[in-house]
Subunit: 398 residues, 2 copies
Amino acid sequence: MHDVLGELGIDPDTVLVIRDRELLTREDRVSDEDVIEVRPVISGGARPTRMKCRRCKAPAIVELRRHNAAFCRGCFLRHVREQVKRAIEAYDMLGPSDRVLVAVSGGKDSLALWDVLLDLGYRADGLYLGLGIGEYSSRSAEVARSFALERRAGLVEVDLARDYGFDIPTAGRKGSRSTCAVCGLSKRYVFNRAAREGGYDVIATGHNLDDEAATLLGNTLRWQTDYIARQFPVLEAEEGLARKVKPLFRLSELETAAYAFLRGIDYVVEECPLVSGNTQLRYKEAMNRLESTSPGTKAQFFFGYLERAAPLFAEQDAVELAPCERCGQPTTGRFCAFCRAQAQILGERLGEPRAGGKEQGDRLGAPPAAADERAEREVVANLSEEVLPVEIYGTTAR
Amino acid sequence: MHDVLGELGIDPDTVLVIRDRELLTREDRVSDEDVIEVRPVISGGARPTRMKCRRCKAPAIVELRRHNAAFCRGCFLRHVREQVKRAIEAYDMLGPSDRVLVAVSGGKDSLALWDVLLDLGYRADGLYLGLGIGEYSSRSAEVARSFALERRAGLVEVDLARDYGFDIPTAGRKGSRSTCAVCGLSKRYVFNRAAREGGYDVIATGHNLDDEAATLLGNTLRWQTDYIARQFPVLEAEEGLARKVKPLFRLSELETAAYAFLRGIDYVVEECPLVSGNTQLRYKEAMNRLESTSPGTKAQFFFGYLERAAPLFAEQDAVELAPCERCGQPTTGRFCAFCRAQAQILGERLGEPRAGGKEQGDRLGAPPAAADERAEREVVANLSEEVLPVEIYGTTAR
């Protein structure tokens, strides 16, 4: 198997190799008749081998190089749950009676998260946001619905086109923001609103260690100290803002992918077709290269930040939030970024300009100076949905 | 030329292409008879093109993508000198009457630095340290001497084997430190001692932007907050420690290489034969990849650190320095790290253990606990010679 991947020029650390619903290791032999699925995990830091399970000494099926460990199926699933429990406990993320809303994209991370939370006994409903990205979105909706049905869990559905009048491809074409920026903005907005309106205590997102490390790298390369300060596994609730937690931050992308596969979860393997060239992917690539020669680099980087550096960045100015004059969600301006984007995309007028004409609210959005500043913020916000613009998440947790 | 490099799989951003002592651009045509030198600059962020000089509109020979500019020979040399002047002024590095000691390895950076400082009218002597690394060292000594002769500048020579009884290959074999670690330690030690004993006001080293960005990346991936704090273009003098400055920190590796070439400086192109696999090179590689898709990444990262992040890291505890009981150079312990390494390499005894036996000074160096801690520090110190162990540079400048 190792030779086959070598011929194909595939880094064995970045894929799951599957034959007949079984994971193959580097050392497994394959014949000409075998149909093999090489399933990208986008990125990762571990690979399957013929080693023995660290816990029970049975043959291992997943190797985690940064832990210098390997696990059999059962012990690997246990390992994943343990890591999630550890994250939840260390940051006091969830209480047993909390109503949790899991932001579900249909990908491996969000479905794995939902699955683990249900198994751990949390009251976790899903939230699916329809983005209107053709086949990709319909398939995503499908897997989210069938997971909910199978697990008898609640699923809140919001559809951007139906409920807000635009879809993401249209927003990318018509809006002044990039497609990824307006998508991230819409997600943050809808997640928060749905959580508040549905009476949920907390939003859980499926950001994994690779996501967090790549985002931190991007923010650090620019020394965006305010974004760095806000990149925490928990963002506490504040006026108008729901609590947000990231229980998968201790698990790599390969671990969440292997977990979802081993649990038989049907997830959307394809990446969003609009995402190509995303800066975030370049940061993931850079981290993966470093990880491949020094396993543990990502964990050292992100956990080291949490332990030693986060306190240095924590003293950021809090911003004042007030309800958006249109939708009532919290914002630093008169209208929130989502309403401004929506009005621009739909060609609507957002209220009357205030006296002096220096306020947001004109048809084209904010005046030039503020627009520049916002554009710069959005380049960064673009990197990842958890890089939160001050308009939505103003202050730092912890 | 672009096609030729493509066939060879060479990134045109990382080499100087030379025919008959002339730089070639991507667009230049070459014939079968041409003898072409493709000279690595190790790494870089710019490439030559057929653009016009930004200043004088003559045909350009060097393109600097991160400046979105290109220069002819004369204006490029001027640009390099301007960047050095700007660095010196911004950080108040050198005064007109200062006696400057330039640490000269024989490579492009240190010779370019010496050259620029002499041209700017500074009283700059060179310091060459013989490391005893075979052909590499003898060639380095040669270019340092012939540069000094040509420019009628003073050259201080120290030879590790002659003056301290060991060379670097021996130290790598016999010592407990890695070769790069003991080499870095020896350089820092000798530079400081030579500067103090020769009555120099300041040591100047040839660290360029690529060096600084790669070191900062390594230190940041580990969140080594004390090393991050110390990575400044100026380290002020303190008890027993000479002032240190890095006037090339605004220039990329490709800029210093092009400068040295265009000025006709004979420099050692080869890397040290012992350096392969150096962690620092992996960080440079990572930065170069990011730079190639986003020109300016390195500058944004390092300058952004200096402007916005350095103050956050600046509050480190100062360490107490006292003279080494053997050589009198400053140290945090009883004997300095250099004397301990030297004693170990030469199999000598370093003084008598103090009562209680918990002091450094026994034949094998420090006791286990301290040795562990030191070993960990040295992994980091290893990254680059300007990552300064507390034993030599204890506190932060500014």
